[in-house]
């Protein structure tokens, strides 16, 4: 239990770092949000980011609903979604911990969009995935889940 919690906190810290350093924090760099943030998507791993920065601690939250399968028959297409009933969510991020670049997708939501988005991502191997929600008042909340990627048939 303790070890799990520590791991979660570690991930949390690294996530905050990733977002802060790369101008993804709402209010920090609104203007940048309009364009694709190269650096954010180049981050090689959560650990890399953790090393570089250490600010902000996102909290794991039951209010964030991460939709992901327990097991994926093929890592090329893994459905991932995030939703929350919390008010004022401005941004949703979807990450895959063990991918070469952790961040898969970022969504900037206007007031007209429900905090409920879904897409599909590639996963190179079994990994934790994260859904992160950032509110207008800079609360950073996340949910995580392990998705098992199985080996395929025949030629595998």
């Amino acid at each position: 239990m303790n070890r799990q919690r520590r791991t979660a906190l570690q991930h949390g810290a690294s996530l905050a770092g990733l977002m802060l350093s790369l101008g993804l924090m709402p209010g920090v760099a609104r203007a940048q949000a309009a364009g694709f943030n190269r650096a954010a998507f180049d981050a090689k791993s959560l650990a890399d980011v953790l090393k570089a920065i250490g600010a902000g601690t996102p909290a794991e939250s039951k209010d964030i609903n991460l939709q992901a399968p327990d097991i994926a028959e093929n890592g090329a297409v893994v459905p991932l979604g995030a939703s929350t009933t919390l008010a004022g969510v401005k941004r949703i991020l979807l990450l895959v911990e063990k991918n070469p670049n952790a961040l898969a997708a970022a969504f900037d939501l206007s007031d007209s969009i429900d905090a409920n988005v879904a897409t599909r991502v590639k996963m190179g191997q079994t990994s934790n995935v994260y859904a992160v929600a950032i509110t207008a008042d800079n609360k950073v909340l996340f949910a995580q889940k392990e998705v098992k990627v199985t080996l395929g048939g025949c030629g595998g």
Partner: protein, 266 residues
């Protein structure tokens, strides 16, 4: 009863049952497939195929709208669930792809031989797969109903059965090695028993399909080509008689199965 007693026992031990309950692998995979079913990228290929069907192309600058897929020129709906079938004009039993090839040649003036020799997913073969998606989609929800009235159709069924059971290659595999018995799987992939009707939307009634692993739309021709690759056989020619005979065998066996093509597959 036993399950309830077990649950009670676990609770008494202070262990939350829910935390222990691991959904089975099969349930997990089923859930994964369910999540993918809504939003099948095969839709993209279907749309592309429809545009190609209606587009004037080739040296003759014609559309495929007069293509006879077996139910008369221009009739697309219901054609897929009756293919392969005998065609009097070509004096051949043809499957969907070989018939499209005929139409591309006769109506549009395209070079059928060159298309047959093009690798899958490239050039006109990519168009062929989109067309296959479009034509099959027009029969979605209909039941497989291949004709067997013509002697050549019956002959192709018998030949197809023999091809299906033909063992060869360094691994001694035939189609039947994997698809001759119900309830089997390779790794986690369920294998339909293609010697009988494997059920609605399974096996022959599920192809063409969007392949998640390659992100491409595979027609039955491509499905068979890759089966033979994994059987360690030499390569079957595109629209060759062996592949068409297999189509007749599997299609006739699937009589009454509801077509869900183009589906989505691992």
């Amino acid at each position: 009863m036993t399950a309830r007693r077990l649950a009670a026992a676990l609770l008494m031990c202070g262990v939350a049952f829910a935390a222990q309950a691991q959904p089975s692998t099969a349930d997990g995979i089923a859930r994964y497939r369910e999540m993918l079913a809504d939003g099948n990228p095969a839709d993209l290929f279907e749309a592309k195929g429809e545009a190609l069907w209606k587009q004037k192309r080739g040296p003759k600058g014609a559309t495929l709208e007069q293509c006879d897929l077996g139910k008369g020129p221009g009739i697309v709906k219901g054609a897929f669930v009756e293919l392969p079938r005998w065609f009097a004009d070509t004096q051949r039993v043809q499957d969907l792809e070989s018939r499209l090839l005929t139409c591309m040649e006769t109506l549009q003036g395209l070079d059928a031989k060159a298309i047959a020799e093009t690798p899958f997913g490239r050039g006109e073969q990519a168009n062929m797969e989109a067309l296959a998606a479009y034509v099959s989609a027009a029969s979605r929800g209909m039941k497989m109903n291949l004709p067997q009235a013509h002697a050549k159709e019956r002959e192709m069924f018998e030949v197809g059965k023999r091809v299906f059971f033909f063992r060869g290659g360094p691994y001694d595999f035939s189609c039947a090695s994997c698809h001759g018995e119900a309830g089997k799987r390779i790794r986690l992939q369920d294998l339909p028993d293609l010697t009988k009707n494997p059920g609605d939307g399974v096996g022959f009634a599920a192809w063409p399909a969007y392949r998640v692993s390659s992100g491409e739309l595979w027609s039955m021709q491509r499905r068979l080509y890759d089966c033979y690759r994994q059987q360690r056989f030499p390569a079957p020619g595109f629209a060759s008689d062996a592949t068409i005979a297999l189509g007749v065998y599997m299609g006739v066996n699937a009589k009454g199965a509801e077509s869900i093509a183009p589906s989505i597959k691992r």
